[in-house]
């Protein structure tokens, strides 16, 4: 139930959604999305073996791939925990961000997702909650996409 409403909410926010059965299928979808682009990839358990081209300078990366720690259906939001294998740059510097979300991690509400994050002990140095691509309405309320963060956001739901 909440997986469907999560997907619907993501689409309403302009986020692309892919639904796959397992990690093997996820790997194939991610490989296809990335192609030959220079990529920043977080350590994602079970998703190793992706043969991707790293950028020389992280600021030149074209795509970033991370995994959500938790997600909220009502907000269409994912929570990314920043740690040694998952730096902040992955979700921030490239113009396209791909987030892998395991279906079991999807909560119904934003509050439940926040509760998941708040229960982490010790709290991670950084958590980024993402709901849609980077945007700005500062010039006469005209919506601009990809202001400073990614212009394109793809969520791959696994399971």
């Amino acid at each position: 139930m909440s997986v469907e409403s999560f997907e619907a909410r993501l689409r309403a926010l302009g986020t692309e959604v892919e639904r796959v059965a397992d990690l093997a299928a996820c790997r194939a979808v991610v490989a296809e999305l990335v192609g030959t682009s220079r990529a920043l990839v977080d350590e994602i358990p079970g998703l190793d073996g992706l043969d991707l081209v790293p950028p020389k300078d992280p600021w030149d990366a074209e795509v970033g791939i991370s995994e959500a720690f938790s997600a909220a259906a009502d907000a269409g939001a994912v929570a990314l925990v920043q740690a040694a294998g998952s730096p902040r740059r992955t979700s921030l510097l490239p113009p396209h961000h791909i987030v892998v979300v395991r279906a079991g991690r999807i909560r119904g509400t934003y509050q439940e997702m926040v509760d998941d994050v708040a229960a982490l002990d010790p709290p991670p140095t950084g958590v980024q909650v993402v709901s849609g691509a980077s945007r700005s309405g500062d010039i006469e309320s005209a919506m601009i996409h990809g202001m400073h963060g990614p212009r394109r956001l793809t969520v791959v739901v696994v399971g």
Partner: protein, 507 residues
């Protein structure tokens, strides 16, 4: 992370502010970012200039639309529930503000954050200035923060020879124009697409097309160079969770994450009331803030910061400071005015306010915070001796209180602020006049005498002249002098009254 675009050994300087000397600044002194706190012009000429300003009509129209869209004061059932919970959390915080602050500071310190608790605005900006100079910082990338506006941080760092660049698009536009933000959430709301085009074209030295995407790309490329080169980031704080020591910042553009993760040094600046009891409370407060501010359930990003970089991490700040300042706030605890400390800075009261909209935004309040929240808060900040007349920029319509997501009785506070102002005034001609009036109208004989005097005066002196008499003139500016030649007559019904005065009568 601070490799920058500059050659080795050279101090990094702002790319985004290059060409700013080419920008001709025609804005009035009271909208400028260099307006000294407490040095604003008198309310009357300042507001008169604001309503007569070129282009204000268009700004007003935009604000009307935004006001209708957002600040209707009608809350859907789920929003009302959120509002109840949010209002309760903010009051719970205020009941033990000092306790929560101590817990917050202890938690932050246990995660390696260097906490500076200071009293005044001057101490707050000096604390940040010292951190910057100690590290030899020459370029600071900053995300939007009203608290840093309040303490005059950018001006202070600039006098220390440091380049400070605002990275939120609206705030960058305001900075290039040399203006203060005109709205808490939309700093450049007072500007049209064409205004921004003209501004960026001057900055560029070559014309740019009036296309928001092109203008935003122009800003993006320039600001990206500064994100990359900055040695220090400065961010504000929306909520600071006492239980986990987590600072929460909401944004849509992604600049907060840049500022808080790419430079090696980070300073978060917050006034005391940003503390909340538990991190879990953002489950209520973030959707409430975003719904009120922007009619969206959440912003694109919520950035949670809980300490400096740990071993193995390759970005995030290596050194993390948090400056917590008071600037007159804790003195409000236990008074009716403490209510304003519940504010979560959504800006909804500003959209809802007919005075704010008519003035074309918050500049003509001459202070950091404009609109209803500003008219209540500004007079209470600092030593509480300035801007005491701001509560008069209010029509007492009460729309702000309905629009407030945390149910601050803004209208009551505005009335109270007026009473305080009056009580503080030296007893002059006006109060002498009122004393005399109450003396006369307390007995029937004297009341009748004043009535006859008014009738005679009304017949002898034409109303146009009456309005120009010394004392009356003061009172009559902004008011219509009534026809007094029939003073005291029983009303004869609306249509029966003939011979209206040349000055016009109340509608």
């Amino acid at each position: 992370m601070s490799t920058g675009t500059t050659a080795k050994g050279e101090e990094p300087r702002s790319t985004a502010m290059r060409g700013v000397a080419r920008v001709t600044r025609g804005h009035p002194v009271w909208s400028g970012s260099d307006l000294d706190p407490g040095q604003r012009p008198a309310l009357r000429p300042m507001t008169a200039e604001a309503v007569a300003r070129e282009g204000v009509g268009h700004t007003r129209q935009r604000l009307e639309v935004l006001g209708r869209e957002r600040a209707s004061g009608n809350w859907l059932p789920w929003e009302s529930e959120l509002r109840d919970r949010g209002a309760a959390i903010r009051r719970e915080t205020l009941r033990d503000l000092d306790g929560y602050l101590s817990r917050l500071a202890a938690q932050l310190e246990s995660r390696g954050v260097i906490v500076h608790r200071v009293s005044s605005a001057a101490q707050a900006r000096e604390a940040v200035g010292r951190i910057a100079t100690d590290h030899g910082v020459t370029l600071v990338a900053k995300s939007k923060s009203m608290a840093t506006e309040e303490i005059g941080l950018t001006a202070h760092l600039t006098t220390l020879g440091i380049d400070v660049v605002e990275t939120d698009l609206g705030e960058y536009i305001a900075q290039v124009a040399g203006e203060r933000p005109s709205h808490i959430v939309g700093p450049a709301l007072h500007m049209s697409r064409q205004d921004v085009t003209d501004l960026f074209s001057q900055l560029n030295g070559d014309p740019l097309p009036p296309d928001p995407d092109v203008l935003a790309s122009y800003a993006r490329e320039r600001l990206r160079a500064d994100f990359k080169a900055a040695q220090m980031g400065i961010c504000g704080v929306n909520f600071a969770a006492a239980d986990t020591g987590t600072l929460v910042v909401v944004s849509n553009e992604g600049n907060v994450d840049m500022v808080a993760s790419q430079p090696d040094l980070l300073v978060a600046v917050m006034p005391v009331e940003k503390v909340i009891p538990r991190l879990a409370d953002i489950g209520t407060l973030v959707p409430l803030l975003c719904t009120a501010a922007n009619k969206e359930f959440t912003t694109a990003y919520q950035t949670l910061l809980s300490g400096a970089r740990r071993p193995g991490e390759i970005d995030g700040p290596a050194e993390f400071h948090c400056v917590i300042f008071d600037n007159g706030r804790t003195a409000l605890l236990g008074t009716p005015e403490e209510e304003i400390l519940a504010c979560i800075r959504c800006g909804n009261c500003q959209f809802s306010c007919p005075v704010f909209r008519t003035l074309g935004g918050g500049h003509a309040y001459g202070t950091t915070y404009g609109g209803p929240v500003g008219a209540v808060l500004s007079p209470l900040l600092g030593e509480a001796t300035r801007d005491r007349d701001l509560p008069f920029l209010c029509s007492l319509c009460g729309a702000c209180a309905d629009a407030c997501p945390v149910k601050i009785p803004l209208d009551d506070l505005l009335v109270a602020g007026r009473a305080t102002y009056e009580a503080e005034q030296p007893r002059g001609v006006e109060s002498f006049g009122w004393t005399l009036w109450s003396r006369f109208w307390s007995t029937p004989a004297l009341y009748r005498a004043t009535r006859s005097a008014a009738r005679i005066a009304g017949r002898l002196i034409p109303a146009g002249v009456l309005g120009r008499l010394p004392v009356v003139r003061l009172w009559a500016s902004g008011r219509t002098v009534p026809d007094v030649s029939h003073a005291g007559d029983r009303p004869r019904g609306r249509s029966g009254s003939s011979g209206g005065s040349p000055e016009g009568e109340d509608r």
